[in-house]
């Protein structure tokens, strides 16, 4: 079969089993778009901005575990995609981004819509390729998918000059069955000796703690993790990225840890004597002050990426491997082990933890005459029975969604954790909704974030995506305002959102349903009304308390046992802080 480069590219995507291609056409990719015409296997989703194409592919990947695929043109097409590529890179999301490029003869001549896409994306991709010969095209695409989806996943960019896709140059097409790269051989199984040492150390613990992260979700290891956690009966916490791997209402689950983690999770981290980190990377939002991180603990760390180990925190027992395989091996060893956890010590440890829990750190004012954002998220959990896919943008609403939705399954909580990209939520929700058309997909956002990719309301109409947008509208860039209140003496520099649009009319002008909720008593009926509209996108503009803060909070550079607490829980607020 003789095909042009453009046809080869489309055939590669079909052979790779690509369902959706998120993209935006332009000069350098017109041959490819022509090859997409009149075929139905690869469904192209036309976004309204290239950033959204990458976020949508990213959301699709996070929800399905399959790689997201993007096609954009050269120059501004590629640069607009960079934010989404970097977002995926920071959270290790498998993605293949095909960028058009000017013809090979014009590269380096400052041609129209030329940028050095390989150079610009290099620091935020797992790998990238420039295809210089049509004969390398199919193999390069195969390599791109292989690299993106194996080992620690990540985005891969393939830059394709226009002449490579010339419809008049045809060569025989063969898609390689497999690919071998001598320079890339990711590990899977963990070292048996290290696994044995880890199990022995775990069984000596008097105050153990299990700290799980996004690696459990990415590595499809929730089942193995649940067995591991239940076998040991140890307390478990999760990073923002790992939520859902352990059900939120599991007795052993202490909630999220870190900057906005629960009191009990952070205190248990601080006091534990053996810590096992499972697919988590000791991010600064988790560790707080490095010098005082888990000061009494021996640390075991399972990660697929050797460079994550001892990067910020030195560990005692490193295990490089696929989280699912390593946990399965550990579960096996635990089953054979004659030693058992020290039940008396464990009971005492749980006693201390339950004392912390009794402080009810997540309390907030439930009798307020204003709509509390936490209440909105809790109510959405009830209405959707905790079974929705929830995307978010970045800021206070993101933390409230993480803290109060209550996730029971992995791959349901979809947010930009590493890069913290505002504008992520709506396009990511589109990707999720396409993957799961029958499921409820919610974008919890703020009036600031939603405006960063609001143009995608148009894409949602075109493809009939009934996403539920929940905008917690406090007329402030809430997290910025909170930091200004805490650390800048209430100097609210440029964090106030004036001249907001009428979101109801805006939604309507895009052909959707808009609902504004201002009064506490309207909250439940209007939310129920919105979620009953199964086949419509509903934009919920919810006017929330402007002064609400995210609690608990560890200030940057502080230790786990130094938290600002909500005034509504049984713990002192930080006495050092002047309250507004």
């Amino acid at each position: 079969m003789e095909l042009s480069g453009a046809e080869i590219l489309v055939h590669c995507l079909k052979d790779e089993g690509v369902e959706y291609l998120f993209g935006y056409p332009g000069g350098a990719v017109l041959h490819i778009y022509d090859a997409l015409y009149n075929q139905e296997e690869v469904k192209h989703i036309l976004v309204r901005h290239e950033q959204a194409a990458t976020h949508a592919a990213d959301g699709y990947a996070r929800a399905t575990g399959k790689p997201g695929v993007v096609l954009v043109t050269s120059g501004p097409g590629a640069t607009n995609a960079v934010t989404g590529i970097a977002t995926a890179y920071m959270d290790s999301i498998p993605m293949v981004v095909i960028t058009g490029q000017v013809a090979t003869a014009n590269i380096g001549s400052d041609a129209f819509q030329e940028v050095d896409s390989v150079g610009i994306t290099r620091p935020c991709v797992k790998h990238n390729f420039l295809v210089k010969d049509i004969n390398d095209l199919a193999e390069t695409i195969k390599k791109a998918f292989y690299v993106a989806t194996t080992g620690r996943p990540g985005p891969v960019v393939v830059d394709v000059p226009k002449d490579i896709t010339d419809p008049n140059i045809k060569i025989p097409y063969i898609y390689p069955e497999s690919v071998h790269m001598r320079s890339y051989q990711p590990v899977t199984k963990g070292h048996p000796g290290q696994i044995k040492r880890a199990v022995e150390l775990l069984l000596t613990a008097k105050k153990p703690m299990i700290y799980t992260g996004g690696g459990v979700v990415l590595g499809n290891a929730a089942e193995q993790l649940r067995t591991f956690v239940n076998t040991l009966a140890y307390p478990v916490t999760s990073t923002l990225m790992g939520l859902g791997s352990i059900p939120w209402d599991d007795e052993q689950f202490l909630g999220m840890l870190g900057m906005h983690g629960t009191y009990e999770a952070n205190m248990a981290m601080h006091d534990c004597d053996v810590l096992i980190a499972v697919g988590a990377r000791f991010d600064d939002r988790v560790t707080g002050k490095i010098a005082e991180f888990c000061p009494h603990a021996k640390i075991i760390h399972i990660d697929i990426d050797p460079s994550s180990i001892s990067k910020t925190i030195s560990v005692d027992v490193p295990i490089v491997g696929n989280v699912a395989d390593v946990l399965a091996d550990m579960n096996h060893l635990l089953g054979l082990s004659k030693t058992q956890p020290d039940q008396a010590a464990l009971a005492e440890w749980w006693g201390i933890i339950n004392g912390w829990r009794a402080k009810k750190c997540m309390s907030y004012d439930r009798n307020s005459d204003q709509i509390k954002p936490q209440a909105v998220v809790e109510m959405i959990h009830e209405i959707t029975k905790g079974d929705a896919y929830v995307t978010s943008d970045v800021g206070q609403h993101q933390m409230w969604a993480a803290q109060y939705y209550g996730f029971s399954k992995p791959n349901r909580w979809i947010n930009s954790g590493g890069l913290g990209t505002m504008g992520f939520g709506l396009p990511a929700a589109m990707g999720v909704q396409l993957a799961f058309p029958e499921e409820t997909v919610i974008c919890i956002t703020g009036e600031g974030s939603i405006q960063m990719c609001i143009q995608e309301l148009s894409t949602c109409l075109q493809y009939g995506l009934p996403v539920k947008i929940v905008a917690l509208n406090n007329r402030y860039l809430g997290m910025v305002r909170q930091w200004q209140e805490f650390f800048y003496q209430n100097r609210y520099s440029h964090s106030y959102m004036e001249s907001l649009p009428d979101f109801v009319k805006l939604a309507e002008s895009y052909g959707h349903v808009g609902i504004r909720i201002e009064r506490v008593e309207d909250l439940r009926p209007k939310l129920e009304e919105a979620f009953a509209l199964k086949d419509r996108l509903v934009f919920l503009d919810i006017v929330t308390d402007q002064t609400e803060n995210v609690y608990p909070m560890i200030a940057q550079g502080k230790a786990h046992n130094e938290m600002h607490m909500s005034p509504y829980c049984d713990l002192p607020q930080d006495p050092e802080r002047e309250l507004s």
Partner: protein, 165 residues
């Protein structure tokens, strides 16, 4: 601490910039970097001299290994090794005294004068970096017009090799 890291890397466009970009993006020091193809034209050999604590060096080697184009890596300064650097140095040599003295110093350091004009000598000198430094120091009485150093190349002593399996 000074460390020498040797890398076998795919001989592809952009491979060098991946390594250089990694060092600048993560704020690692780079003292010198040399690169050229090996006997196998598909591979380049790179020698990087860097400084840092053991923890930083560990991160550098891990991050380098993580680059998809890096095939193999060895920390040369972990074991017995040889390092060499080549220098071309152009010195003013106009008077007989200058010419005699520069020639004598060059001989002492086992340099070779490879270009001569009425007023200059150009000397080629190979050795460990410290030897090149000493030679420059020894020439302090003279006017150095130009110095070109290759950066360090290194190889392990004995049968230990950095090669494909």
């Amino acid at each position: 601490m000074r460390h020498i890291i040797s890398i076998l890397i795919e001989n592809e466009a952009g491979a060098l910039s991946r390594v250089a970009g990694l060092f600048s993006a993560r704020g690692y020091n780079i003292e010198s970097l040399t690169v050229a193809p090996t006997e196998d034209a598909s591979l380049s050999r790179m020698t990087i001299v860097t400084t840092g604590t053991d923890r930083i060096i560990e991160q550098i080697t891990k991050q380098l290994n993580k680059l998809i184009d890096v095939v193999k890596l060895m920390e040369l300064s972990d074991g017995p090794h040889i390092e060499r650097e080549m220098m071309l140095i152009k010195v003013k040599a106009a008077t007989m005294d200058q010419r005699d003295d520069v020639k004598r110093l060059s001989d002492i350091f086992r340099g070779r004068i490879i270009d001569v004009t009425a007023s200059t000598y150009t000397i080629e000198l190979t050795g460990a970096g410290s030897k090149l430094d000493s030679f420059i120091e020894a020439l302090s009485e003279h006017k150095i017009l130009e110095t070109v150093r290759s950066g360090v190349s290194g190889i392990a002593r004995g049968e230990k090799c950095l090669q494909l399996n």
